[in-house]
Amino acid sequence: MSSVKLSGVRKSFGSVEVIKGVDLEVDSKEFVVFVGPSGCGKSTLLRMIAGLEPITEGELEIGGVRMNDVDPSKRGIAMVFQSYALYPHMTVRDNMGFALRFAKVPKPEIDRQVNEAARILALGPLMDRFPKELSGGQRQRVAIGRAIVRQPEVFLFDEPLSNLDAELRVHMRIEIARLHKELQTTIIYVTHDQVEAMTLADKIVVLRDGVIEQAGRPLDLYDDPANQFVAGFIGSPRMNFLPASVVEKGSGSVTVALAHHDGVRLTLPVTGAEPGQDVTLGVRPEHFGPAGAGGADLVLDIDVAEHLGSTSFVYARAAGEPLIIEREESRNGDETRITVSIDPAKAYLFDKQGQRIR
């Protein structure tokens, strides 16, 4: 299997630059997920790796070989599309063997590879059906099967589960994870669903406006976000952000006062902020504790509470600011007002530019 290396990669459509210098190394057998909001360039980057979009500037290497100008079919990659892109006029078997037929692979070899992919994905009974006779999940499995048959060095997945319903999405997610284990291939996977990213990835690459905001292991991104964007993007429900200002600096800590909560102060183990500096305090929903547990207490007016059984998400307001709180112990649907505390050891501080203050 192959590694993928992007060095200073840029892409422009006319005068509009959509990928603004991306450097990234994907190790062999690694499962890398590109995440980011719509229009961040993640699909474009994937299509550039596939060879479906020319690279305006920079270098792309697959398996140590420069691939900028190599035909898509000769890059040793296979791609699974969001809309499956199965040829509607061909049966499942023909869809899966099409690339090999075009590459003039002998028929017995095509049959062997198609049957092997069918076995891996349990497609046996569907082989003589046409795509329109398959369900969404089955079509996606065929699309993956078509990719497997090509025996690629690198698999590219472009939002492959977006068109599936929630239940099937979970099922296919597990299937893809199993496949990665079984095939031991390099996978680059694009999604805007950060649950998919967190559960599947060895490495997550968070993109915004054509630049990499942060790349790293899923829990590293979750626990140690580089900036406010990544902090807000990784984690569901998203992190709460509260405007604050630094009022005091001690040795190894700063004290901030929350802007809209008179008298609420919090001392964080941070050294990079100066007194008077406007900052943003970030607190994940699960990092609010019961009142008086330490840190600072906030009084919240509850708008809506979602009781999921094992946990509850409370959508509330504190001095007019919307907050999301996770409460594992709460099953009381009648509460209208609660008091919670912020755990300062687990709170984050960001400067006005959104960069993390450590």
Binding site: R47, L52, S73, I77, F81, S83, A85, Y87, P88, F102
Partner: protein, 274 residues
């Protein structure tokens, strides 16, 4: 309440009356043609509209008066070759206009659409001079060539191509196909309903083409069905029975093509990509 009901009945009655008149106007000539082909010329002239017993006689006289196989061969050759070439050229153009982005794409396309507004009558004389200088007068080439790049069919294919998933093209590129192979192995099979609808439209237009063949085809042995059928009515004493049977024969191929491709025609007109 009762007045409302009465008004509703009257409205519905008028609607059905209007539709019946429209249906009669559409169907009667066809009925008259078929019935006329079984009657003698005097019967038809006297307005007989019931089936007669002179069908075989009319057919026999028609075959005596006209070299029917030759006439059909001429029309079939022009219609089939013309249709095939029009579909190839125009679908390629429609595909290209939709798939390949260029700064001038929309301008060129708008210019082409503008050409639609020029009536054929205005092009007839320059076209004739062109064909004459190329030495193509009285050849099938002269009949076929001017219609190959049909702006209407290019437009039709461009619109239909909007429904062709671009991811299929991407998948085919990853499978190692070049643009021509994508067109032949993916686009054409996927768009077969569009091709079926276009086949009917172009075949009928070619088969029924009258004015241009009338101008460029000058000898009897090269004339097409429409020219011969029309010529039959120019006789000093026209035989209406023969004219009717010739019209029946002239209509058969288009009816046949339509029924053969009917299901795909409907899908194609609805723009279905399945």
């Amino acid at each position: 309440m009762r007045a409302d009901l009465a008004f509703s009945y009257i409205r519905r009655g008028l609607l059905y009356l209007g539709l019946s008149v429209a249906a009669f106007v559409s169907i009667f000539p066809f009925y008259w043609m078929v019935v006329g082909s079984t009657n003698t010329s005097p019967d038809i002239a006297h307005g007989k509209v019931t089936p007669g017993t002179y069908l075989l006689e009319n057919i026999a006289r028609f075959f005596e008066m006209v070299d029917v196989p030759r006439m059909f061969w001429n029309s079939a050759f022009i219609a089939l070759v013309g249709t095939a070439l029009t579909l190839i050229v125009s679908s390629l153009a429609g595909y290209g206009f939709e798939m390949f982005k260029s700064r001038f794409r929309e301008r060129i396309f708008a210019f082409l659409l503008l050409m639609l507004s020029i009536p054929f009558a205005a092009l007839m004389v320059p076209l004739f001079i062109m064909m004459s200088r190329l030495g193509l007068i009285n050849t099938f080439t002269a009949v076929i060539v001017p219609g190959i790049a049909s702006i209407f069919i290019i437009f039709y294919f461009r619109q239909a191509t909007k429904a062709f998933p671009s991811e299929l093209r991407d998948a085919a590129r990853l499978d190692g196909l070049n643009e021509w192979q994508i067109f032949v192995h993916v686009y054409i099979p996927v768009m077969r309903s569009t091709y079926a609808a276009a086949t009917i439209i172009v075949f009928m237009a070619n088969w029924n083409n009258y004015l241009w063949p009338l101008i460029v085809l000058q000898t009897v042995e090269n004339k097409t069905v429409t020219l011969i059928v029309s010529a039959l009515s120019y006789a000093y004493v026209p035989d209406y029975g023969v004219i009717m049977i010739s019209a029946v024969f002239a209509t058969l191929p288009t009816v046949l093509i339509f029924f053969l491709l009917q299901r795909r025609f409907v899908e194609g007109m609805l723009g279905a990509v399945k």
